[in-house]
């Protein structure tokens, strides 16, 4: 029982940052039907931006770990800077190819993913880098399991961001314009919606969420590397497909489910099979229920 609760907690925590990545995947897919392979790299860069911000803070302001100020600034920087990456990708790599056959943007996305990964590897580091403990290292017991406060924070933040995003898309003028663009871009233009702007906005929001996810993952895993976005991105995409691509609620549900499934899979089948488990789920979902659990829809 203790073991079960412990694994559940681990899985849910993992699911929280999968969810933050999956949201961007699902939104971009919903609006331009592109698997943005580079999205996992935006997540990775979010973690690195967090790391660099912290290092800067240490030299400039003498930050120590578990500093609330550092945590807030690091999260903020990741939120502010990752959208620049996302928007540049959209503007310079994907937008020129909107008329091209769909293989072209897909290959471009792959190239972008590679390029971003390698930029970090070549110009910064290929190694495993320790990520600072920004969050107070407190834990408590529930049902015999050891729960860290950080985990609660991660899950809460992910849920909060999801609800904010849902509310934004449901009720605001721009949010509705996003849904309209996802449903029918040409008609959206006839409504006076600047579709290019809306697509850019989608990339901005998705990237910011992935950036936050990167910082959370950095804290959770305690280390970051240039390759971390690849597998995490693949899993987040799996989560988005699991929930029904284009579906915000589905992506989050899928992410938590995948996190839990994966943790239990690793616990009972052996950790080395963890990734096989995740990708096996992806293939099974696509084969047996390609519309995902909640069905494909766009936005809330």
């Amino acid at each position: 029982m203790d073991e079960f609760v412990q694994q559940l907690a681990n899985g849910v925590t993992k699911g929280s940052y999968y969810a933050l990545i999956a949201l961007g995947y699902t939104m971009v897919y919903g609006i331009i039907q592109l698997i943005n392979f580079a999205h996992g790299e935006v997540f990775m860069l979010g973690a690195f931006i967090g790391l660099w911000t912290f290092n800067l803070g240490v030299t400039a302001f003498g930050w120590g770990s578990t500093s609330l100020v550092a945590l807030v600034v690091v999260l903020l920087m990741a939120t502010l800077l990752t959208p620049l990456i996302g928007v540049s990708l959209e503007r310079f790599a994907y937008r020129p190819l909107r008329n091209a056959p769909r293989l072209a943007p897909l290959i471009t996305a792959l190239g972008a993913s590679f390029a971003l990964q390698q930029l970090v590897a070549v110009f910064y580091s290929r190694g495993q880098l320790a990520f600072p403990d920004l969050f107070p290292n407190t834990s408590f017991q529930i049902g015999g399991a050891n729960i860290q406060l950080l985990w609660v924070f991660m899950v809460a933040l992910a849920l909060l961001l999801t609800f904010t995003l849902t509310a934004f898309i449901r009720t605001t003028r721009l949010g509705k314009a996003m849904r309209a663009t996802a449903e029918d871009p040409d008609t959206a233009r006839l409504m006076g919606i600047n579709v290019d702007m809306i697509i850019a906005l989608t990339f901005i929001i998705g990237s910011a969420l992935a950036g936050i996810g990167g910082v959370l993952a950095g804290m959770y895993l305690g280390q970051v590397n240039f390759f971390m976005g690849f597998i995490a991105g693949l899993k987040a995409f799996t989560a988005a497909v699991l929930g029904g691509i284009g579906n915000i609620a589905g992506a989050v549900l899928g992410a938590f489910l995948l996190g839990i499934l994966e943790t239990f899979g690793a616990a009972y089948l052996g950790g080395e099979w963890q990734d096989v488990f995740a990708f096996g789920v992806l293939i099974l979902v696509l084969v047996f229920r390609p519309t995902g659990l909640l069905g494909e829809r766009v936005a809330a």
């Binding site: 039907q33 698997i35 943007p105 792959l110 590679f114 799996t238 992806l282 696509l286």
Partner: protein, 577 residues
């Protein structure tokens, strides 16, 4: 009747047209800049490029202080500068000029400008040479290139030349001579490239070659060559075969480049297979390496390796031609059958996941695969009691073991190409094209799209398995780390660079992307970085690749104007669901 805004709009358009007309008249003026740029480039090539010797792993880079003569990288900048000068002067003197000439000159100019800059950048960034130690040479040369480029742009306002046509037949002899000379030149350039050891010089050689090839392509030489080649296909193929058979003899005493060429052959084989999947059928397979890996492990497990947990030996030829490809194809069908019904981009992610699954399984299935250690000491294949590694002797010439691999791969590639051309001309090949271009319409025509896609997927896996099996023997070992996602991307990059769907292009792409990293080993760190950017840039600027098939060029090139007119298909992607 029109309001002010409208008048302004009209006037602006008129003014622009007038300016264009004036520019056309004064076209001579900027054009003088082209040969002038060439002269500056020649001057730059004779100036110092570095102020003291630069050594990379003990090998001095050319362009030393004491070296006033021409050598190393400067040979190639000089060659480009001469080309700019001569061609620029010819165009300047020509009675009628056209925009195509301007474009061609611009390409030469860009090449001349880029060559020294890339050379300098690589020295500074990767070989830790301080900027201060660079001489004035590269900068002067680059300035010359820039000048030529700017001058050439003056011509772009002119009318373009009529589209190039394949050269018509003059006489049998001329045709044959063209074919022979073209192939000899290509072979010579290849040998020259292999000869150049110095990485700095190789960069210069490669950029000059690219610029000159781009220029020849612009003025229609390659299109023209298609004429004689089409009329003398048999001779062309026979001569190519002879040249390739002779290749090992040009590498006396040094088998390294023969081995690299054999490696290139493996990649050609793998890329040709992937090309069926991606190029012909339009399915993006990102887990292609899995099939390559499966083929390699099949060969390793049945190939009498020293350190293996499986004691089961099969004859090499049986493995290469039947067992490895069949096993790989079975996996391909197992994966493809349920997933090929899905829309195309899901397939990309499923195959990516599958590639990871295979890698992890190889890593974890210790009892059979020996886990992360892999299987090593795989002996050279033995055919009828003769081990390929021993080589053989013909008429006094010794053929090394590596050369045997090279010949083996030549044979496999020839066989594969023949198969692919037969396939492409068959009902299946046409069905692939139909499915790629419009799956719904293809289905409406009565094509069973799932089976057709499955055939492509299986055929791709087949050739990957074959290549993998040879690879296991060539490298004498297999391990899960060799078959990772970047490998899949590398092969995809070969296909995309060469020309999606066009076998000769794919062969070219595979050769370039095998040799380039070998030649630029000093920069192997940035290899994948370059691949990433290359994929983006190719898709953006030349999606049809270096050697496109005619059909593909039409499909992929949305010119500015049609793109605007087709903006209603802005989201054409969604119709593919």
């Amino acid at each position: 009747m029109a309001a002010p805004t409208a008048v302004a709009g009209r006037n602006r358009a008129d003014a622009r047209a007038e300016a264009m007309a004036r520019l056309r008249q004064r076209v001579r003026l900027p054009l003088v800049a082209v040969p002038a740029g060439g002269l500056v480039g020649i001057l730059g090539s004779y100036l110092y490029w570095t102020l003291s010797p630069v050594r990379v792993e003990g090998v001095p880079l050319t362009g030393r202080l004491a070296d006033y003569g021409i050598g190393g990288v400067r040979t190639w900048s000089l060659l480009l500068a001469l080309a700019v000068l001569v061609y620029g002067a010819l165009v300047l003197r020509a009675r009628s000029r056209n925009a195509t000439q301007g474009e061609a000159l611009a390409r030469l100019g860009i090449g001349l400008a880029v060559l020294p800059v890339v050379w300098a950048l690589t020295l500074v960034m990767f070989l830790d040479v301080e900027v201060g130690r660079l001489g004035p040479g590269p900068w002067v040369t680059a300035a010359g290139g820039l000048l030529a480029w700017l001058g050439a742009r003056g011509l772009l306002a002119a009318e373009p030349a009529p589209a190039a046509e394949p050269w018509a037949r003059r006489s049998m002899l001329v045709d044959l001579a063209v074919v022979v000379v073209a192939e000899l030149v290509a072979f010579g350039v290849f040998l020259l490239g292999i000869e150049i050891d110095d990485p700095g010089e190789f960069l210069g050689f490669f950029i000059a070659l690219t610029a000159i090839a781009a220029t020849l392509s612009t003025i229609g030489v390659f299109k023209g060559l298609a004429g004689p080649f089409a009329r003398n296909e048999g001779v062309a193929i026979a001569l190519l075969a002879v040249l390739l058979l002779l290749f090992p003899f040009t590498q006396e005493g040094n088998t390294f480049w023969i081995q690299v060429t054999a490696q290139a052959g493996l990649f050609v084989l793998a890329a040709l297979g992937l090309n069926i999947v991606v190029g012909s059928a339009g399915l993006l397979d990102l887990g292609y390496v899995a099939f390559f890996g499966i083929g390699a492990y099949v060969a390793a497990l049945t190939g009498n390796a020293l350190l293996t947990n499986v004691n089961f030996h099969l004859p090499f030829l049986l493995v290469v031609f039947i067992v490895a490809p069949v096993v790989a194809a079975i996996f391909g069908v197992l994966l493809g059958a349920p997933t090929l019904r899905l829309r195309g981009d899901y397939l990309a992610i499923v195959t990516l996941g599958f590639g990871e699954i295979v890698r992890i399984t190889l890593n974890n299935l210790d009892p059979i695969t020996r886990g992360p250690n892999g299987i090593s000491s795989i002996p050279d294949p033995v055919v009828g009691g003769w081990s390929m590694g021993e080589g053989f002797t013909v008429a006094g010439f010794e053929i090394s073991g590596n050369s045997v691999y090279f010949y083996l791969l030549l044979a496999l590639i020839a066989l594969t190409l023949a198969t692919i051309y037969r396939l492409n001309d068959s009902r299946i090949g046409r069905a692939w094209v139909a499915v790629r271009e419009d799956e719904v319409a293809a289905a409406a025509m009565g094509i069973n799209t799932t089976i057709i896609k499955l055939l492509a997927f299986g055929a791709g896996a087949w050739f990957a398995g074959m290549a993998g099996a040879v690879n296991a023997h060539l490298l004498t070992q297999v391990s899960p780390d060799s078959y990772t996602f970047p490998f899949s991307v590398l092969i995809l990059a070969m296909v995309v660079l060469g020309g999606l769907g066009n076998p000769p292009g794919v062969v070219l792409g595979a050769i370039i992307l095998t040799f380039l990293p070998e030649k630029l080993r000093e920069f192997s760190d940035i290899r994948f970085l370059v691949f990433g950017f290359a994929l983006i840039l190719i898709m953006r600027f030349r999606p049809e690749g270096l050697l496109p098939s005619a059909r593909r060029r039409r499909e992929l090139h949305a010119t500015g104007e049609t793109a605007a007119a087709e903006s209603q298909q802005l989201f054409d992607v969604r119709s593919g669901t």
